[in-house]
Amino acid sequence: MNPLAVRIAGIALESPLVLASGVLGTTASSLRRVAQAGAGAVTTKSCSLAPRPGHPAPCILPWKGGMLNAVGLSNPGIEGALEEITEYRRTCRTPLFVSIFAGSPAEFGELAQRVAAAKPDLIEVNVSCPNVESEFGAPFAADPAACAAVTRAVKENAGGIPVSIKLASQCASIAKMAEVCQRSGADVLTAINTVGPGMWIDPGAGRPVLSNLVGGVSGTAILPIAVRAVYEIRRAVDLPIIGTGGVSCAADALQLIMAGADAVGLGSAIYGGGIGLFDEINRGLADFLQSRGYQSLHEVHGMAHEKGKP
């Protein structure tokens, strides 16, 4: 038996490691390559109804604590995305999660319906985008009512395909948001998206480096925030969690799993470790289980919640 096999919302993964949305996730070819490198599932770059070129470079900046990005949700639009999904499906069996984003619940519903037709294994809903119907353009992820509306709209149109809502740490209480999503029909939760935003100024130029001035913080810098978020969500709801944020080694992945994550997203660390990281972390997880005499990941899942001596 594969000790790393996990199952979320009925989807069987050979490894808990999931390629996070937005990283190497636009084309069928690169998704397939990551799948072959050892990912248990791959998530597409978030797609919208219309194509978006995004922000000009510099839009991704590695720095000593992690990464900053303001890619601006560039994507080929749903038409282009569907082509890639179909092509991926034709050539690769590793579960495929399709990420979507939109400016209103209605648009989210429309996108979900179109994506569902291509039969991905899961639809991941990126709610960290501005809600165009909100007075302040605040992201859905910070507004429980808006987040609930999006969750319902996607669920209604997903044709039975499991739906994950991707939560952000920038909200009053991520546990409350998780409860709202569960009540609104979410099957899975992904946490977290990027943190911040942050700014990087190049002292030599005296200017912010990102063309968008600010960008989301990811990578090592956010690991403890992701671990805390997953821990809080696990205490609040019993949905499966794709814990994401700052993972760059097996020990990091174990932190999220012990906090309560069923699967673990991997994004920014691919910069430092390449896609060989999937295999490296898989081996590290297997070694840990073996050295402690565990038969499978399930035995350590959520264990940080147990009271008393280890």
Binding site: S29, P56, D202, A205, R207, C249, S268
Partner: protein, 265 residues
């Protein structure tokens, strides 16, 4: 417990120390060398307050890095307006460059000549033999011609204003007919690279060709430079691919992707 590697891609904000004007739309920029970079690797060049784009290095010598750029759009035109003393941001080195071995044939077209210049200098330094064939539309687009000719290069222009009035691919075919090479090194328009890839297959040698794809991050994260087929990142595993790697590039010589990630038609 390994931690995230520190980025080797910090911004180096440096004054332009010198500018060589080939013509108003084709210039070389010299910077103090603050990091090592191999022929075929590239930097991301930042106009502070503006965009950042990939550029190869056309030479590294006497503690200076040289970049040669041609005006084709908003960014490169803004670059042409920069003056000596102005600060630009360089991040690098990015990607995998040429891996010299054996006897080489160097073939370049247009602005693709730039990285080959550094390669030629490096081969000469290492005492490795090579033949050179370069082509451009006109004489004024064929920068560094005197330097190359001194090293025995054959030249071609579309209008015959310098060297022969043939396609540079024809020069390359002629050289391959006359002698045996271990590798064809190439950079230039993708149609030329496709021709060189076929030529290498025909004569039975390897090739190392520098590809271009739309680049945003340069570090294998955004995916905008991934080729169809093998799915590898040109910014990280390229830009220089060998013959076997090119065999796996499904969109080689075919329309590739723009900033949205959609295939251009």
């Amino acid at each position: 417990m390994k931690s995230l590697a520190l980025p080797s891609h910090e911004m180096h904000t440096l004054p332009i120390e010198d500018i060589v004007v080939h013509h108003e739309g084709l210039k070389s920029y010299l910077f103090r060398q603050t990091f090592d970079i191999e022929p075929g690797q590239f930097v991301m060049l930042w106009l502070p307050g503006g965009d950042e784009k990939p550029f190869s290095v056309s030479d590294v010598r006497d503690g200076r890095i040289e970049i040669t750029a041609r005006a084709v759009g908003p960014f490169s035109r803004a670059l042409m307006a920069c003056k000596v003393g102005g600060f630009l941001g360089l991040r690098g080195p990015f990607g995998r460059g040429f891996r010299p071995r054996g006897r080489g044939l160097i073939v370049g077209g247009g602005i693709g000549i730039a990285p080959l210049r550094y390669l030629v200098h490096r081969l000469a330094q290492d005492g490795m033999e090579c033949q050179i064939a370069l082509g451009a539309r006109t004489a004024r687009e064929l920068m560094f011609a005197a330097d190359f000719v001194r090293r025995g290069a054959r030249l071609a222009t579309d209008d015959g204003s310098l060297g022969e009035k043939v396609m540079v691919l024809a020069l390359a075919e002629r050289l391959c007919a006359a002698e045996k090479f271990d590798v064809i090194y190439g950079c230039g328009p993708e149609v030329l690279l496709v021709g060189l890839h076929q030529l290498a297959a025909t004569v039975g040698c390897d090739c190392q060709l520098a590809l271009e794809r739309h680049m945003k991050c340069g570090i294998g994260i955004c995916g905008s430079c991934c080729v169809d087929g093998s799915g590898i990142c040109i910014c990280r595993e390229g830009p220089v691919l060998d013959r076997a790697e090119l065999d796996q590039v499904a969109d080689f010589g075919r329309p590739h992707r723009d900033a949205t990630g959609a295939r251009k038609n």
